[in-house]
Subunit: 90 residues, 4 copies
């Protein structure tokens, strides 16, 4: 793995750790009886963070599949993998 | 709180607990080096669960605001609160 | 219909007319061979306008159902209708 | 353009033509005074069709950029273009 790829992996790990903490706090806020509007704001914030990390994982996959296509000199497998990755997220 | 409202609160608490567990597992899967396609499937699953709980909270708010409007005999405040709740989710 | 409701109806009619025009232009841009990135920007813009008009229709429905609940003095039917409207949009 | 690419272009053109027709019908339905729930169903249907055509355009771009990367033997430009395309849609 290159330094850049390692940094990208770490960035995603950090985002996922923050999302886990944020998701755990949703349960606490609910148990404390917070207002619906506050709950909805927090739910939307966690969802936005999930969207962002999903995009980051997909971007990493784009680079991975482009490298594979160049190594093997063919694009069929990379094309199929990227479309499948996209399908899972959208 | 009526029995039905209490059941709705509990249902939302249970969903939030499951979402927290699922979000924590995302971090673990990433640290284990799972494939991007599996990660994206799991990210999409947590997001769908968040969407569903957000909708459940909003439905609870609809009932709460309708009751308030009937008690006070006016709808302005309930209208404002529901539109604000919707804005936060969408 | 009150003046305010009539204005809300007109606002939605105007938004829908603009969306129809924008959607028709997507086909023209494609036939002219515009770049994918420009197409995707325009597709996202039409989608955002659709989301906004859907929200406006839902807000109108909120006011309609709150008025009905106050007229009849019960909220069951209004609650059911609003949740169904929400389901269709989300 | 290969036969397959030409077919993909035509498929997208057909989808965009249907979306334009569907979007125009939204305005007509509204002017006829259709119920909110019917309007919301139709708005959601047009939005789903837009999402699908956006995905189809992005898939075409994936193939285009993979081909370019293989022709030039480098992936930087293709990586940048695909991430930008993704950003516009998401």
């Amino acid at each position: 793995m290159t330094g850049e790829q390692e940094k990208a992996r770490e960035d995603i790990a950090n985002r996922l750790a923050r999302i886990a903490g944020h998701a755990a706090s949703l349960k606490r806020l609910w148990d404390e009886g917070r207002e619906s509007r506050e709950m909805l704001t927090q739910v939307a914030a966690v969802r936005a963070a999930l969207d962002a990390v999903g995009r980051a994982i997909l971007e990493q996959e784009i680079d991975h599949q482009l490298s594979r296509a160049l190594v093997y000199g063919v694009s069929d497998e990379a094309s199929r993998a990227l479309k499948e990755a996209l399908d899972r997220l959208l």
